[in-house]
Symmetry: C2
Subunit: 187 residues, 2 copies
């Protein structure tokens, strides 16, 4: 049995965007296809069923907007439950598993922090992301060191790519922490 009510990355992306402002399925598809959120699928077969699921779960509510000369559209808004669920998600601890398998989802969480999480959440998030990255990277380095002689050139390079990618993420995290600590006093 699957744990009930575990929303997907796409589901949270939809919730965040709808929270920013009420949107239709079409609006969301266009947003995905025309911004850096292109990493999400803009296909109707992904978006519309996902919105219906969110509605069934009571996280969004849609109302039909009739406009003369245009096809009717359904505009979705977050419900109180939807906002609570989104905040619950944003408050979750940063765990190793997410760093390794769901870094995209972590960055999506962070992207909406300023808008929907309490003050201080962003900095807490960044610090725990920093800790997880700083703990994980050495284990990759260690593996590389012990195995580099037995690995083909492309295999070794691929591993180095992964390590460098985590290192870039760690540098970004440090810079982001500095950026938040600087603005802290100002607000």
């Amino acid at each position: 049995m699957v744990k009930p009510n575990r929303n997907s990355t796409l589901a949270f992306a939809l919730l965040g965007l709808i929270w920013q402002e009420p949107r239709s399925g079409y609006d969301l598809r266009k947003f995905f296809s025309s911004t850096p959120m292109i990493s999400f699928s803009d296909s109707p077969g992904a978006i519309y069923p996902a919105l219906h699921r969110l509605e069934q779960r009571g996280l969004v509510r849609g109302h039909v907007e009739e406009r003369p000369g245009l096809r009717r559209r359904r505009i979705f808004q977050l419900t109180a439950r939807g906002r609570a669920e989104f905040r619950r998600w944003q408050k979750q601890q940063v765990v190793r598993h997410d760093v390794i398998r769901n870094l995209d989802m972590l960055m999506l969480r962070f992207a909406f922090m300023d808008q929907f999480a309490e003050k201080g959440a962003a900095l807490r998030f960044l610090k725990s992301l920093h800790n997880e990255l700083a703990a994980y990277i050495p284990s990759l380095r260690k593996y590389l060191k012990s195995n580099r002689e037995y690995m083909p050139q492309s295999g070794r390079l691929a591993l180095e790519s992964g390590i460098q990618s985590y290192e870039a993420q760690l540098r970004w995290t440090k810079a982001a922490i500095a950026s938040y600590e600087q603005t802290k006093g100002e607000r």
Copy 2:
């Protein structure tokens, strides 16, 4: 209808590892859980069904190994079709869509290049990856430039993280090209 025979990233990871040396499902699970390939799931509910699908498609063949005092295990080997399918996959063009949505899969492809693709494949792969990255990054920069004033701090930082991550990948790609061009004459 879904296009038939499109194997998943996991399926190709299994094929590559089995091609390196015949392995059982348990071997594969242990490999995933104890190396940087931990980014793949090591759960039996993922691995065993995937192996059975590969066998049904004629890409691997398993034979039972009986050992006194231990539970029997099934060791899988690649078939001729499996090798052909793997090579077909490795030869595919690097397209924008994969850079954005399947960078993991691209790096997996690269990881096995030296072992199973023809000479020159790695360099061709790297050059076309380089071109796609170099073409994509400016569009992200442009979006950031036009929208940074309207974005919350965390949203802007999240986008910068994505850009820096692609830039790190691009730097790696350049270094990898240099590395291949250097060793080219030597082999």
